[in-house]
Amino acid sequence: MSCNSYVIRPNDLTHMKSFPLPTVFEALDLVMRNYPDNFSDEVRLEIEALLDYCLEGLDECSERFLATLFIKAIRKHIDPHNPPEHIYLKKFEVSQIELFNLLVKQFPFVRYSHEIINKSIVNTVGTNEKLTFLDVGIGQGVQTVALLNELSECYTLKEVTIIGIEPFQEALVAAEANILAQTYHFNVKFIPVLDFIEACDFAALSNVVKREGGIFIVNESLALHHIQDLANRHRVISAIRALNPASFFLTEPNVDHFEPDFYRRFQNCYDHFYHIFQVVDLLPVTSKEKNGLKMFFGREIEDIIGGNDIERFEKHEPSFRWAEKLTVNGFKTIDNFTGLPLDVGYGINLGFDKRNGCLGFKFKTETVISLIHAVCDN
């Protein structure tokens, strides 16, 4: 993905000489070593010089686009109350609807994660007549609606209760509308819970689960990493275990952004998104859409790099650490996924990591996202 790593003299081919350029990462790395408070006027000048370099041909070079997003984030850290405008990036933004469509339909990590988890849930439901489904961080219910369509295969199913936990009211209202918009051969009941998962009243939730009955399944997709501290992560997993689900499915990025050391976090973050951007470049969508997706990830980078440790929201952890948390809280991970595609495409390999109990989507050397299927370890 390294673009323009040599400067050549195009108008003098007989004496053509090139000089090797450092990678953009090397330059960015130099800047990031000044975190948190060594951003002198001289370093700020370095940042501006690097930004100027990256802005040239930004939309044609993923590495420069990525570095620009990191520079944007670090500028926010340097001047949090008055961050500079980034008008050059504004033109790459796409609407929220376009973005959701792209993520769900085109972005393989999201698309196939949804498909595999949903098919695995259908497989777990089997011939049950009643399902109670707890969706942690339901968002606008995109995955849940797809699940309801998949559940049409469960001919014996008569009732489905969906408990949707979501801290944002607008999204929860949209989720309810989306879920109840269609009819199925089974009855669908939606119970909205407007809250952060760590703030939920699990005793009340337990009563709801018992009252609704049937097979009980829990799913979380890209939600648990928003819980800020480890103690609460353990407490939530333990509380879910106490609900005694038949299966607990997790979908989480496999990267350590929980890391408190900024420099290591930066390296993890760069490596992760460097690989993601390469996949984005391979997608069969327009340049505008590719750049829109990159901008979407830019918001995550801004949080991971620009936010201080207390305010940060995107605190991903490597999948083995999620598996570990599940284990210590009375779950065991199993290799039982259904509907694995024969070929994800884009050079992405899908494989189960027995040691860590996760199904990983691996691109080159980076396992970008992992799926975990956990059951109660009785």
Partner: protein
Amino acid sequence: MKVFSSSTVSLEFDEIKKVLRQVWTGFSTSAQFREGIDETVKFVKANDVKYLISDTSGQKPVGPEDTKYAASVMPSLFGSGIKAMAFIMPKNVITKLALSSFAKEQGLPANVMYFDNIPEAEKWLFTF
């Protein structure tokens, strides 16, 4: 012979070889950088300078506007008798990238080249 010196740039002229060496050190403010550029142009216009070596090996990055400013005086330098110009590559990776932007801005004429050291640069310069 040293013909100009500031805290971030010095100009040394070799009258025999007709080489003007511009040696940059550390960070230059915009004013310091432009002063160095202006002094170079002034000296080249007033003296019999045939070759210019810009030693940027110890230079830290300059701002984008200043890079453009440096690029803008190149025609004036070549119009005043400079036959060829050599850059000694910076060690700082960001300066290196900025220099590549300068090179792009310049359009890279055949009589401008980049080297790792002065002997190599001089060897090439004297072919002009």
